[in-house]
């Protein structure tokens, strides 16, 4: 038996469709009951099957997507308040608290670290590349990289 011939493959398709709905609409006011209905499941059955498939309840997955998207926006130097509302949170304090609980850093601290890394990649890229690869690519011979100039 393989692929499309598996029994209940249609259930997986519906769960995947629900996941895609969350992926595409995370910034809005998603009603998870509505998603369960769209997928033709009872709410209990939907949560159970979603968690079995993704190791997260639909609500946990929605939070996960929002936090991951917020990280991308923070990396792009978007102000924290703007990020909060852009990913679907309606309170900066709850966004900050949740972000810190899940990542160990406040959004502002995370953004600072990412800005530092971004700047370092621009000015000292060789610091982020294993030397063996940099040498094979001929990048250690480039005199305009700061790290090479030092030697």
């Amino acid at each position: 038996m393989q692929g499309d011939n598996y029994p209940k493959i249609y259930l997986y398709r519906r769960i995947v469709k629900a996941k895609f709905f969350i992926d595409d609409n995370f910034a809005g006011n998603i009603d998870l009951d509505h998603i369960a209905d769209e997928a033709f499941f009872s709410k209990f059955h939907f949560i159970r099957l979603f968690k079995k498939t993704y190791a997260k309840t639909p609500h946990q997955y929605l939070t996960f997507v929002r936090i991951e998207k917020s990280k991308l926006l923070l990396k792009e130097d978007t102000p924290v308040a703007e990020v909060c509302y852009a990913v679907g949170f309606d309170s900066i304090s709850s966004f900050t608290g949740l972000f810190k609980r899940l990542t160990g850093q406040t959004p502002a601290a995370y953004q600072q670290v990412q800005q530092k890394i971004k700047e370092e990649i621009k000015t000292l890229p060789l610091k982020h590349i294993p030397n063996c690869f940099a040498e094979m690519k001929g990048w250690t011979q480039k005199s305009n990289f700061e790290e090479v100039k030092k030697f």
Partner: protein
């Protein structure tokens, strides 16, 4: 004493297209994306739950690694699906298969229960193939 693996090289035909495949289709995270001069880029991505394992998406260009001839030969080998660079793992193979298929990933073998496990095979945008297996419960 060796403690872990932290970089793996995957040769790709085009880094922009590979970025789209690994990040937007497979859902991998960008670890480092550093422009290194005209036409040169150091690009690494990591699987969502392994932030310290960098998959380096390496271009195949004439230079210190390749001559013109060996680069052409390597590109031909990659595009013909010669290389299988590894085995990925997922929580639920049927769901992951449906999801990746919907995103346009090409499977060369759909999920099938083998004596060694539940497995599917897919190709990246360059032609490299990977096994995708379900984590044992």
């Amino acid at each position: 004493m060796i403690t872990k693996l932290n970089h793996v090289s995957i040769f790709v035909l085009n880094q922009d297209s590979a970025y789209d495949f690994y990040v937007n289709k497979l859902g991998f995270k960008v670890h480092t994306d550093a422009p290194m001069g005209p036409g040169m880029r150091w690009l690494t991505v990591c699987p969502p739950e392994q932030p310290e394992l960098e998959l380096s998406l390496m271009s195949i260009d004439k230079g210190m690694m390749f001559t013109e001839e060996s680069a052409a030969a390597m590109r031909k080998l990659v595009s013909s699906g010669t290389f299988g660079f590894g085995v990925f793992e997922c929580n639920d193979l049927l769901a992951t298969y449906e999801e990746l298929k919907a995103k346009g990933v090409e499977f060369t073998k759909p999920p099938k229960q083998e004596f060694y496990g539940f497995e599917a095979l897919f190709k990246d945008d360059s032609g490299n193939w990977f096994s995708l297996g379900q984590k044992a419960k």
